[in-house]
């Protein structure tokens, strides 16, 4: 294809996109909506627990502890309750957790603060503080329990075990979700858009005209990819800005490395769309294949939501062929753990190999005949 022919093609493709409001909405609207939805609404983090306190003696020490908990954003103080009423309080939903202080809390606290008091505290009869949780939602209960325990021990080594949560001390779920959503969105937008746009030409018959021209199929394919690639880069920028300034993820690592691996992933997604377009004849088929081939596996097997380590071996093996898995892993390392680019060389290599393989297969399959 001559140079001007190629750019005329790119221009034509861009016009298709700009003239179709639905495409624009999907490409630019969905990332924002998804990100905000996952970032705020659909979170597993614990940030709004009601707690009540059962204390036989409302001593100064008890009040200090209660204030300390109430001062935290995650917990809301719902008042003191009778120790006998704990069960009822939880049942009626007045509180998600009841913090029950032992009768001799003051004494134990004092012993604990004395040098060598640790051993004495450990020998005490029963715990000084009991946390009674409504565990009908186990996630909330365990996350809340962990958080509350840390608040109560607060630096002193009372629990015997000292816990440090690195990279995400507040256990914000955005840190976990953002790489996952990026992995999902790019593959959806790039693959669906390119595959549908190529298949649409088959469906409307314009492909027939394009093929009976001096243009080589490779030219058609690359010309189609360019506008979608540009759009995806816009998406990438929007997502990174939202992540940094709206969700408050610090993006502590190298931004260049994140962008670099994302661009590679975009190319892979485009190649995947191209591949789908070679096996689908109708736009609807392309959509279904995209959804079946990508949406479900990416959500279930990429480690976006369910940790890969917990999966049965066979699913772990299957997850290896899902590009999103490697991308998400890499972005977590780069963005959240702030590791240097050299830490994701393996993921980068795997994604690169997948891209090359997909482009190769797609170009072989992209026939310049009608059958």
């Amino acid at each position: 294809m001559k140079r001007n022919g190629f750019w005329a093609f790119v221009r034509k493709e861009a016009l298709h996109i700009v003239r179709d409001p639905r495409t624009m909405l999907i490409v630019l609207g969905i990332p924002v909506v998804q990100l905000l939805l996952f970032g705020f609404a659909l979170s597993t983090e614990v940030n709004n627990l009601d707690f009540a306190v059962a204390a036989p003696h409302r001593s100064e020490a008890v009040r200090q502890v209660v204030e300390r908990i109430a001062a935290n954003d995650c917990f809301t103080f719902r008042g003191y309750v009778d120790p006998a009423q704990i069960d009822r309080v939880l049942r009626t939903g007045r509180a998600d957790v009841v913090v029950a202080f032992a009768r001799d809390f003051d004494r134990r606290q004092a012993e604990h603060l004395r040098p060598g008091g640790e051993a004495a505290a450990g020998m005490g009869a029963g715990p000084a503080v009991q946390l009674v949780f409504d565990a009908s939602n186990p996630n909330t209960a365990s996350a809340g329990a962990g958080y509350l325990r840390r608040l109560l021990s607060d630096g002193d080594a009372a629990a015997g075990v000292e816990m440090h949560l690195l990279y995400n001390p507040q256990m914000k779920s955005a840190y976990n979700f953002v790489p996952g959503i990026m992995g999902l969105l790019f593959i959806l937008i790039c693959s669906i858009m390119t595959s549908v746009s190529i298949v649409r030409e088959k469906e409307t018959g314009t492909m027939e005209v394009l093929l009976v021209s001096p243009v080589r199929p490779v030219g058609i394919v690359f010309a189609k990819m360019i506008p979608y690639f540009v759009l995806s880069c816009v998406d990438l920028a929007v997502i990174l800005l939202l992540v940094r300034y709206v969700l408050g993820v610090p993006l502590s690592g190298s931004l260049a490395a994140v962008v670099g691996i994302s661009v590679l992933y975009l190319l892979l997604a485009l190649a995947l769309g191209l591949f789908i377009s070679t096996i689908a004849d109708r736009q609807a088929t392309a959509l279904v294949i995209s959804a079946m081939l990508m949406l479900l596996p990416v959500i279930m097997l990429s480690g976006m939501i369910f940790p890969i380590e917990n999966m049965p071996r066979i699913l772990q093996a299957l997850s290896c062929v899902i590009p999103a898995r490697w991308y998400i892993e890499a972005v977590r390392k780069l963005m959240i753990q702030a590791l240097p680019f050299s830490a994701v060389l393996r993921e980068f290599g795997i994604l690169l190999a997948m891209t090359v393989a997909l482009v190769g297969v797609a170009l072989r399959k992209f026939n310049d005949k009608l059958e």
Binding site: K2, A8, T204, L211, P214
Partner: protein
């Protein structure tokens, strides 16, 4: 290489599974000729077009377009032919001029390079330059598609039912343009289901079920009609059609415009025929001799197959 032939087809066969879409077709199109393919849907016309435009590979036989083999020299053929598929195949969301400039760039020519060729057609479209192609009338769409197919001055033009779904006035204009292109030395292969369009061709091929029944000039086709042809009309047209078909000596009876056409053999007796119909309750029928047209030849040949 036979330079005096724009298209040369020898025993071309194309099968889809067990169905044979093109079944041993042989014909040729001379340079500067307007050649018509006439036949009903499913006759294999579209498959033939796709074979000649190198979109399909034949199972047997060979063909040349502009001296190039359709299998070996596909790329050379693609650079020198224009193709208008059966359905409207432009970009509906692009404007008239955007479509034209896209196809010009696709073939590596400037929009103005061959403007003289398309000017008579494009001038009619110019008032709607900025209108989206999808919003044009059927006739205008076809004119735009023709412009796009001509923008690189092809030596052979393939038109697959270019006027289907277009009003009669626009159809007439369209064929006048084709006649003008022939004057420019462009060879044209056009398929049409309309017999009145067949008359505008230099030669026509009647095709049915993947085979060619005859290749002749339109006049030759008409002249080849042997035997008598009658036109029959009356009330209750469909009952009349069935009754007439049952009569002795009637070879074929088919609707033709407002009347029915009857091809008959030597056993047919008009007086007898009228009387029989009257007995069956058809009193006010009108029967007269008619001049055969291409369609009548077609119906008769199909019947003989």
């Amino acid at each position: 290489m036979t330079a005096d032939r724009a298209i040369r087809v020898e025993g071309l066969v194309k099968r889809y599974g067990t169905m044979t879409a093109v079944d041993g077709v042989t014909f040729d199109v001379r340079r500067g000729e307007l050649f018509g393919l006439i036949g009903p849907d499913g006759a294999g016309k579209t498959t033939l077009f796709r074979l000649l435009t190198t979109l399909l590979v034949p199972d047997a036989g060979r063909a040349e377009v502009d001296g190039f083999d359709i299998v070996r020299d596909a790329r050379a053929i693609r650079a020198r032919v224009g193709y208008m598929p059966g359905r409207f195949s432009l970009y509906q969301d692009l404007s008239v001029e955007e479509n034209l400039s896209f196809f010009a760039a696709l073939f590596g020519v400037g929009e103005r390079d061959n403007y003289d060729l398309i000017a008579p057609i494009y001038r009619q479209l110019e008032p709607f330059r900025t209108r989206r192609a999808g919003k044009l009338s059927g006739g205008m769409k076809q004119k735009l598609a023709l412009c796009c197919a001509l923008i690189h001055r092809p030596s052979v033009l393939f038109l697959d039912e270019p006027t289907t779904g277009v009003d009669p006035v626009s159809r007439g204009e369209f064929w006048e343009m084709l006649a003008r292109l022939r004057g420019e030395g462009i060879s044209i292969l056009a398929a049409t289901p309309y017999m009145d369009e067949a008359r505008r061709c230099d030669r026509v091929a009647l095709c049915d079920s993947g085979r060619l029944l005859a290749v002749e000039t339109p006049e030759g086709v008409v002249a080849s009609f042997d035997g008598e042809l009658y036109a029959l009309s009356g009330r209750e047209r469909y009952a009349l059609l069935a009754a007439a078909r049952a009569e002795a000596g009637v070879v074929a009876c088919y609707p033709f415009g407002a009347e029915h056409h009857l091809t008959v053999d030597e056993r047919f007796d008009p007086a007898h025929f009228r009387q029989h119909l009257a007995e069956a309750g058809f009193h006010d029928v009108e029967l007269r001799r008619a001049e055969p047209g291409i369609e009548d030849v077609f119906m008769k040949r199909m019947h003989h197959e």
